[in-house]
Symmetry: C2
Subunit: 145 residues, 2 copies
DNA sequence: TAAAACCTGTGACCAACTCACAGGTCAAAG
DNA sequence: CTTTGACCTGTGAGTTGGTCACAGGTTTTA
């Protein structure tokens, strides 16, 4: 299979196929006649796998690791389970953070309902924002990993 | 004020100050003696404003627009209200999407509980992922709350 | 035989910073 | 007076997962 063919088969952008190839997730051979990449059924399997894993929240380095384990005939499943738990926790943190943001926004909106639009006077820019209480519950500032 | 001073006053990274300056959100003058940037009270006001706006979900281009309107003595508040509504809607879309992802993940996890870890056999990589049903994106996942 | 469709590698771009680097400036301490 | 250390400067790279552009080579189709 050539790039376009495998891309069509997996329903992805051909550039994504090239990108994954550059990143080492796919290891096609070369057609010595024209230097074209030659993908086989295994590559297609890997590509589809990668896409599913992406939808489940795995990063490319994680997917590469999984594929390498499988190449070594080690079951990647325990690692998949493990990484997956962490990704789930991360997604839940992201959701919580976005909900905090949403709460800030909704609260700001309701405050703004009663506020007139001011004209900038050299002291304020837009009091809607300036007079908005920044969330003192800065519980969110542990952002490692 | 020099970079470090205004950065400390607004509680941001000095590099962020330099970045915002490059991006045109701050327009300090120059000390002709040493070519250092010189920020004044107005810059500090703008910087604090920008940080609050960022926390409320505004993008840098949006903030720049708001600041420019204010510089022209037009009230940016109507625009702020307007952009804000759109950002809120966007945040809500993001939350919904993450919750869909989370639902996919939780469902996958529960399916996986009963599945044994397989060893890659040249046909499958990790059946946990391969045998997971791809959500047809828009159709499924009706979830309240 | 020529156009269309595909291939190649390389590199830029997105957002909003953050960090690294090399070299210039300045205040205080030795 | 000199050194040290903190700060300044501009520039460029890294983050994430692709996507797009470009210039030139190849294959297929009409």
């Amino acid at each position: 299979m050539k790039v376009k063919e495998i891309a069509t088969a997996a329903d992805v952008n051909p550039d994504t196929v090239r990108f994954y190839t550059r990143e080492g997730l796919l290891q096609p051979t070369r057609n010595p006649d024209n230097n074209y990449q030659q993908y086989d059924a295994d590559d297609l399997r890997r590509l589809r796998f990668a896409r599913k894993a992406r939808q489940l929240g795995f990063s490319l380095p994680e997917i590469r690791q999984i594929l390498e384990q499988a190449d070594d005939h080690h079951s990647p499943c325990p690692m998949v389970r493990d990484v997956f738990q962490q990704r789930l926790a991360e997604v839940e943190r992201e959701i919580a953070e976005l909900q905090k943001l949403r709460a800030r926004m909704v609260s700001a909106l309701s405050t703004w309902q009663d506020m007139p639009d001011g004209t900038p006077d050299g002291h304020t820019i837009c009091r809607l924002i300036e007079h908005w209480d920044t969330p003192s519950s800065t519980s969110c500032c542990e952002e490692s990993e």
